[in-house]
């Protein structure tokens, strides 16, 4: 059934973006291979980070949370945008990374970079373990499996209150100065540059990854798993690897959040967190990496502003925005911009 559904599901948004029904299929393939090159837009992202620092001088905490959200959305884009793995439980890895970083800082060493590596590694291991079940399933079962994994982890965190702090969260750990020199200050200057640096490295690695033969293979699997299998591609192992990598990146995002905020709560594992990142990526556009930037910036900034103005109707506005984006710009805001050009 999936072999029939997946090409249709990816062709449908393409048909909306590319004029002419005949060119739709070729358009998707050409686009997905062209989009991955380095281009001036990547330089713009660098400038954006700099501008973010200069303009958000007084809102550095918010700017930092935008950066964390971008890393998180990037990881979802790897799994969903490139591998076609549908997930409603991506917060599982974010939460695992966050708790791993917090526990590492509490019990082992407050050094931030090794903590981040531990966070990524733990999440990648969890990702690899669950991937074997997740990538074999399709459609609703796949969504449910990811959801079940995230919920089991959430309830685990609830059961082992002694370790995780339960609803109170895990706090009170220290993070040592970055490279032994730059202490994390109260105003979040170091935090911002730390997150920005991690984001740049993660983005560069993601970009490199999707351009490798491996990256092209998983995009092929997304387009047509049956044909890829016929070409001799070991579909399941490739998807497992991709899922583990995506989980690792999500873990890094979680670790980053834990280190910058100095506190980890159960909400890091919650269904809401999974849904939020899905919404971010949908707003930004999947399968193009910089969609994660658009989506996360729009989502986090809007929700922060709206929470001040009217938190109730913010949710309604978000819902309407989501409906309209899916209806009129199925490839997200970045896809919509591209369509205008």
């Amino acid at each position: 059934m999936t072999s029939v559904v997946s090409p249709v599901s990816t062709a449908a948004p393409a048909a909306a973006a590319v004029p002419g029904p005949g060119s739709a299929d070729r358009g998707v393939v050409a686009a997905s291979f062209l989009l991955q090159r380095w281009r001036w837009a990547d330089l713009a992202l660098l400038v954006l980070l700099l501008c973010g620092y200069l303009f958000a001088e007084r809102h550095l905490a918010l700017a930092t949370s935008v950066l964390v959200a971008i890393v998180f959305a990037l990881s979802l884009d790897l799994a969903q945008g490139y591998g076609g793995i549908e997930t409603l439980g991506h917060a599982a890895f974010f939460g695992v990374g966050a708790y791993a970083a917090a526990l590492y800082a509490t019990h082992v060493s407050p050094e931030p970079l090794s903590g981040l590596a531990v966070a990524g590694a733990c999440a990648a291991v969890v990702g690899a373990l669950t991937a074997f079940a997740v990538v074999r399933a399709h459609g609703l079962t796949q969504i449910m499996l990811t959801l079940a994994v995230a919920t089991v982890l959430y309830e685990l965190a609830n059961v082992f209150k002694g370790i995780t702090g339960g609803d109170d969260g895990l706090g009170g750990f220290d993070v040592a100065p970055l490279f032994g020199r730059f202490a994390f200050d109260l105003f979040g200057h170091t935090g911002y540059w730390y997150a920005a640096g991690v984001l740049l490295v993660v983005y560069a690695l993601c970009k490199a990854l999707v351009n490798t033969p491996f990256g092209l293979v998983v995009q092929g699997i997304r387009e047509n798993p049956v044909r890829m299998r016929m070409l001799g591609v070991p579909v399941v192992p490739r998807l497992v690897t991709l899922y583990a990598v995506a989980a690792g990146v999500a873990g890094i995002a979680g670790g980053l959040a834990a280190q910058v905020n100095r506190v980890v709560g159960m909400d890091a594992l919650s269904f809401t967190a999974s849904a939020n990142v899905l919404v971010m990526l949908a707003l930004g556009g999947t399968g193009r990496l910089y969609g994660a930037f658009f989506g996360a910036i729009v989502f986090v900034l809007l929700s922060d502003r709206a929470a001040v103005i009217n938190p109730t109707y913010w949710l309604a506005a978000l819902g309407v925005l989501l409906i309209l984006v899916v209806r009129f710009a199925p490839r997200g805001l970045s896809g919509g911009l591209k369509g205008l050009r």
Partner: protein, 291 residues
């Protein structure tokens, strides 16, 4: 012994409520393959409408619940005719996002209109209290409300089963579930069948939501909070399988109730672990659908 009996009753009534709420989604997913994450929000709408009818309009509980179900059905039908046309046209991920968006809107409206607090529908006097059998020692005591809930949901489930197995509409629906394109070929108006089923599903969810407020209390985030439970019932039961959903809902209700009583430290953990295990062993659910 007496504890076990009341636990069983509690578990069964909880499971039956879940079944009422989830059954519509089973069909939605089974027939149209629409990932409808708004479904649990319809249960909430039903609950709030019944609450409003009882509290502000002064209707009796027994009258308010069916009226709330009818109103929810109207709303469901209206939405199916308009907004869901967009949902149908999207791919699976788009459907997921769009219906999450609709749920967000309903949640925000509920919060704006009914306030953020957790609410119950007050039970009528005739449903309060317990029935007690036996002597002083080992007396079996069951809540009247729970028995009423089991009776109503059993009656509804039976009606549903009869409607599916014994009527022409049921035959058409089963044909549409099993093979939508073949059903179309033999002249069944599948979209219409789906519209009716969607509306009925909304009504059942509304009844479940209105009757179950003692277990699943009303709050604006109801639609998102219990969505996971409803999805579990559908996924564990198997797409499009009413029997599967029924079994899954009962199982879920019993495991959850017994688990929380005998292993309170683990809380809801058991249920999700069971679900994960079951999905690993039987990825297509308890009763795998034929298509």
């Amino acid at each position: 012994m007496s504890t076990l009996v009341s636990l069983l009753i509690d578990g069964v009534s909880y499971g039956m409520t879940l079944f009422l709420i989830a059954v519509g989604l089973t069909v939605t997913l089974g027939v149209m393959r629409v990932v409808n994450l708004t479904h649990s929000a319809f249960a909430m709408v039903g609950g709030y409408l019944a609450l409003w009818l009882v509290r502000s309009a002064g209707f009796s509980f027994y009258l308010a619940v069916p009226m709330a179900a009818l109103l929810t059905m109207l709303l469901g039908l209206a939405m199916e005719r308009t907004l869901y046309r967009w949902v149908y046209r999207s791919d699976a991920l788009g459907q997921l996002l769009m219906t999450i968006g609709i749920t967000f809107v309903i949640t925000a409206l509920a919060k704006g209109i009914a306030g953020p607090s957790i609410q119950n529908i007050p039970l009528p006097v005739s449903l309060q209290g317990n029935w007690v059998w036996g002597g002083e020692v080992g007396a079996v005591s069951v809540s009247v409300y729970r028995v009423f809930l089991v009776a109503v949901s059993a009656a509804l489930a039976l009606a549903l089963w009869l409607g599916l197995e014994r009527t022409a509409f049921g035959a058409r629906l089963r044909a549409a579930v099993d093979n939508p394109s073949m059903a179309r070929c033999v002249g069944i108006d599948v979209p219409r069948v789906f519209s009716i089923t969607f509306t009925l599903g909304c009504g059942l969810a509304a009844i479940g939501g209105a009757l179950g407020t003692q277990m699943l209390p009303l709050e604006p985030y109801y639609g998102l909070k219990y969505l996971v439970l409803v999805l579990i019932v559908v996924a564990v039961g198997g797409l499009g399988s009413l029997r599967g959903s029924f079994q899954a809902a009962l199982l879920l209700g019993l495991i959850d109730t017994l688990g929380r009583y005998y292993l309170p430290a683990l809380g809801a953990f058991i249920i999700y672990l069971c679900v994960l295990g079951l999905l690993l062993v039987r990825p297509r659910g308890l009763v795998a659908s034929t298509s």
